[in-house]
Symmetry: C2
Subunit: 471 residues, 2 copies
């Protein structure tokens, strides 16, 4: 089916895309509300049909605004592809990623209004999925609509890839990317699915931490032993584990595993300066976390500690008796689940091996140690000094009217490394979510000013990126 | 109902009690088998009637051998009292404690023969309860039978107190003791419900460890936090707990809590000499425990470490995510269940307070600490140099034909401190169980040579103890 012109085309040819966005803002918000009314909860089998309906809805919408669409079934929920009309000749190609599935809304009783009945209050649009991620990729779609509707010409080809399984692990995405590697090959990926620190601080997230998981099991006696009859004459695996864990970090918050920091690329002066611009109030941050006092690696700010420095965390401890009251045993074993967050250029395999080897070297001869490496994920870094990144920064400033910041994200976004691995493409993370958008929580919202700025960003971004590639 | 003479009385008046025991050994073993056939499993409601039948059986048996009996119902299972015929005048009074209830036999499939079908193989009588505790107190009953049947006269009054709830915590014993305090007041309690290190090492257990329980909870953030987004900028409660636990013990196995050892009564040279006589093979002990290497407080032997020195053990650890795979969180809290085993003259309250106070002093300001004192039990010590203890030692040598050892038990036996507290009486622990008797395990057995020696012990004990009191 050939793309068709929007109905308003005649009048809109008189406008710039930015004017078009202002003119049509109310209508666009109404469309977004229609999109948000579809309860596309990918994690819940009872919403299976809703997820499918939502995929069909966004596919139809992409077609309506002039894109060529494809709905691809997968083993799970379908993937929507929507391409701008292709022009002859070799042109830059960018992929815009988004996801139409949403987190479960539970606990429903904590919502001020029903999660799938969008409600505008002040500048906020409340609904499950408003910010994560329907509102964010919808802004990019509205930008393309604006360009096409005003008769503008894109200096590049765009492919929107909108999946329906991001909230449940994107299991079918990598096979899909591999299968469509040829048509999806692109110069860069743009994702608006992260956040910005404040409305006045638009951000390019240029780095993500990786991860390495390791389970540590310390075994003592062959079975739980009576602590009265035997206690005192053998080591206690839980005590041995405690001693080993305690030895992994020094009092200044530095991981003591030899070689742990060897592959860490130091922060540049410019990066530290950028991170220092981020708003931070120690007391309110501690209150937000609920801790009596902050703690982290000495010599680094909290922003650096949580996004640009590697960590070693105990995620769980298990040993012996955990029920009510007490059971007087020397437990047979004690175990800890560890994950290390990694920064460029650390490797999950190397770090898991280093930690395991160090634990082995400090394990006393009175217990047996077993370590099991778990999942791993590479850290990600887009050189902030590349022409693409600089172009993105310029566009952010134009779209938002504020100087943008370079941001690192402490978590991992596996699809970003997937895009790099399968398509060879870097990703520009241009998040539109605010810290109080309640993603994954009750009363999720999206700031409509960011919706507008995000759409404006979309109208300005492609010429800048295409220009950067040409330069 | 007046006590009646055993049927064999006429002939038995020609014998000593010891000869009588030899003469009637086979018959006594048959009676013990009848006793063991009653599945008096106090923990299992399905055996409620069996427990009652067993109480009635042992009461009737006591009556048959010439004792005055009483069956006292309790809120749980009945308590049997059986007294030797009282003589006029103030005479020494000893209480003999035993229990007719047994541990559940499960797992049944691990038994070589059915747990309630007694089977003799070599010197062993296999059945649930054979050693713990039916066989042991039955030996004392046979001793009294032998004295009475041969026309001998006891130099003291004896009361057998045989309860049916030892394996489920003896909840009704203390109220019963308080209620019958007057008639149960005695010069000492004799219990054969512990062990001896080898058949050639009869033992007087003269000390028991006490206990103090403490739960330690370390709280960090107000909820589990995403370790990617926040990890690195706050302390991890599991790491903080590990560090605190690790600091409780030094590398030489000594508890570092200030004041922890202040109330410990040092072992005398004689005590250490006695403990050094106990058989010990490091390699086979380590193999038995299943540990690669032993560990304990430096400067003390394994026997001393496990019975005569205080300990601090972690019985359980809990924190964060314990399921399959990993969950990348900074857990909100981490907790440990601790128990300290105490030796004379440590007090559970004092020790729990000292440990809690020390933990507080080493708790970093980045987390919150909560400690909850649990149950406590006093350590027990019968001066081994008293005339009663010396008399018991002499009798052990006479009965077994081997020089006895003075033993400390690492566990706690609450009823011993109960007898001390309520009746004001010391307890002589004259255990007849061997280390391989499998108490509480499948294939429990009792060595019939110890059954014979135990009965012989009973015939010799009362004159010795009465004499010691008179001296």
């Amino acid at each position: 089916m050939p793309p068709r012109r929007p109905l308003t085309a005649g009048f809109d040819f008189m406008m710039t895309p930015q004017q078009y966005l202002i003119e049509h803002q109310a209508r666009h918000i109404g469309q977004l509300c229609d999109y948000l009314r579809l309860p596309s909860v990918s994690a819940q089998a009872s919403h299976r049909e809703d997820v499918g309906r939502c995929a069909a809805w966004i596919e139809a919408h992409c077609r309506e605004i002039g894109l060529n669409t494809e709905l691809h079934p997968t083993r799970g929920h379908p993937i929507v592809l929507a391409r701008t009309p292709r022009r002859p000749g070799r042109r830059p190609h960018f992929l815009v990623y988004g996801h139409y599935d949403v987190q479960p809304p539970e606990p429903i009783e904590l919502w001020a209004s029903p999660p799938f009945e969008p409600r505008v209050e002040g500048h906020s649009l409340f609904a499950r999925g408003a910010s994560d991620n329907k509102g964010q990729h919808f802004a990019h779609l509205k930008a393309v609509e604006a360009v096409l509707a005003t008769g503008g010409e894109l200096p590049c080809d765009l492919t929107f890839l909108i999946e329906g399984e991001e909230e449940v692990g994107s299991a079918n995405l990598v096979p899909f990317l591999k299968q469509h590697r040829k048509s999806l090959r692109c110069d860069a990926v743009v994702i608006s699915d992260t956040g910005m620190p404040a409305r006045t601080l638009p951000a390019l997230t240029y780095a993500l931490r990786g991860i390495a998981a390791l389970e540590v099991i310390v075994r003592g006696p062959s079975r739980d032993l009576h602590s009265g009859i035997f206690g005192g004459s053998l080591d206690n695996p839980a005590m041995a584990l405690a001693r080993m864990l305690a030895a992994l970090r020094d009092r200044r918050g530095r991981i003591t595993v030899p070689g742990f920091y060897d592959q860490v690329r130091p922060l540049t002066r410019n990066e530290r300066r950028q991170l220092a611009r981020l708003p931070f109030n120690e007391r309110s941050y501690a209150r937000f976390l609920g801790v009596p006092k902050l703690f982290g690696e000495a010599g680094f700010t909290a922003w650096e500690q949580r996004s640009a420095r590697p960590t070693l965390e105990v995620n769980g401890l298990t040993s012996g008796y955990q029920g009510e009251g007490s059971k007087t045993i020397v437990p047979a074993a004690a175990s800890a689940k560890l994950t290390m967050r990694l920064v460029p250029d650390q490797s999950p395999d190397v770090i898991a091996r280093l930690v395991a080897r160090h634990l082995k070297s400090i394990c006393p001869p009175t217990v047996r140690l077993e370590t099991r490496a778990g999942h791993g994920g590479l850290p990600y870094l887009l050189e902030p000094d590349t022409s693409l990144a600089r172009a993105a920064m310029r566009t952010l400033e134009l779209a938002f009217g504020y100087a943008p910041v370079l941001l690192r994200e402490g978590g991992s976004i596996p699809i970003v490394t997937d895009f790099k691995r399968v398509l060879g493409a870097d990703t520009l993370l241009l998040g539109l979510a605010l810290p109080d958008d309640n993603a994954h929580s009750p009363n999720e919202k999206f700031d409509l000013r960011n919706f507008a700025a995000g759409a404006r960003l979309g109208t300005l971004l492609w010429p800048e990126l295409a220009g950067a590639l040409a330069a």
